[in-house]
Symmetry: C2
Subunit: 210 residues, 2 copies
């Protein structure tokens, strides 16, 4: 799959704790119907075979769309299902090894938690950076000090790579987040936890495009 | 590294909960000095970068010995450090994918928890199976019903692959375990928790060879 910056626009990051009995792939595909442009499968407490099964299910469902499937952290899972890429954090696989294992054509995104991380990322040929967190968020508890809107603006200016903003973004702030110049926003609860994920994605895009 | 069944003889599986402040690689290399023939790095609650660092440290320390380094579950970590192989359980990466990712020359071991698992493993070209658990053990809490010595004897007879027995094995029972015909025994606490891992490994081998 060819990667373009436009695919970062509305980036869905999964979280099964918001499913309340619904099927993960169903919820993701409802969100894709609403305009989600990229999907990251993030799992922390799951055995490898279940992780591979979920990834394969998403891969099959997304086949034929222009929505890339990105796997959080686990390069073995990404390779197992031939996903479009991986997203790595500062405590995950070092970037150079990740690139070597994934090959030159796959998408690799890297989380940055401060301005030093951004300077370091500028020296790497990552495909995008995830600026994390923009706001304080209940969905990740191990995160660094929030960038805030001013910090995000500075991050966008500083980065030589396209940026995705993540952390606490929803309909009430998506407009001001996109106005910082970030290429995209990443959403967890505002889509995964919505009763109607299609509607939620459509409304977010509408807000961003106003 | 060429793999031979003899390398299964005294198989050390790491567990950092027994270190009590000691360095993992130091303890492993003391055990290797005592005659350990194979090392499996097993980590469950650790970030990927720390897992890679530990694996790289062991890989460097074991360089030049005939002791293979096996990574538990995480094929990405094994690939990152070019380990000699992986050990997978029934909930880890499916064997066929693991073989595809690791390539034909790497060692792949598979845990079996019952006789059905052994019959299924007989159809695969795994390099060895780990019969788990032989006895009840405090070091793994998610294990199936113990095989016992009679069950292990039957497992060894049934398997077309060399077997390693694991679970609750120590100096007091190593002799009767090896008498079942199993190619090797896997040890966690009886070496990792020993004040003198060199001594512990030597004594286990002595007991097995009596």
């Amino acid at each position: 799959m060819n990667f373009t910056d436009n695919q970062l626009r509305l980036y869905l990051v999964t979280d099964r704790s918001f499913l309340h009995g619904r099927d993960l792939t169903d919820v993701v595909m409802q969100a894709v119907k609403g305009g989600v442009t990229m999907v990251q499968l993030r799992e922390k407490d799951i055995c490898t075979s279940d992780f591979v099964d979920l990834a394969q299910s998403l891969k099959t469902a997304l086949y034929g769309t222009s929505v890339p499937l990105i796997i959080n952290d686990r390069i073995d899972v990404a390779l197992a299902v031939d996903a479009d890429g991986v997203h790595i954090g500062q405590s995950d696989m070092p970037y150079s090894i990740a690139r070597q294992l994934m090959g030159p054509d796959k998408i690799i995104g890297l989380s940055v938690e401060n301005f030093d991380d951004i300077e370091a990322a500028n020296l790497l040929d990552v495909d995008y950076i995830g600026v994390s967190p923009v706001f304080a968020t209940p969905t990740k508890t191990d995160t660094a000090t929030p960038f805030g809107l001013n910090g995000l603006t500075r991050a966008v200016d500083m980065s030589t790579h396209p940026t995705v903003a993540i952390g606490g973004i929803n309909g009430s702030n998506a407009r001001e987040v996109i106005e910082t110049g970030t290429r995209g926003i990443a959403i967890v609860s505002a889509i995964m936890g919505a009763n109607d994920p299609t509607d939620a994605a459509q409304n977010l895009l509408k807000t961003m495009n106003q």
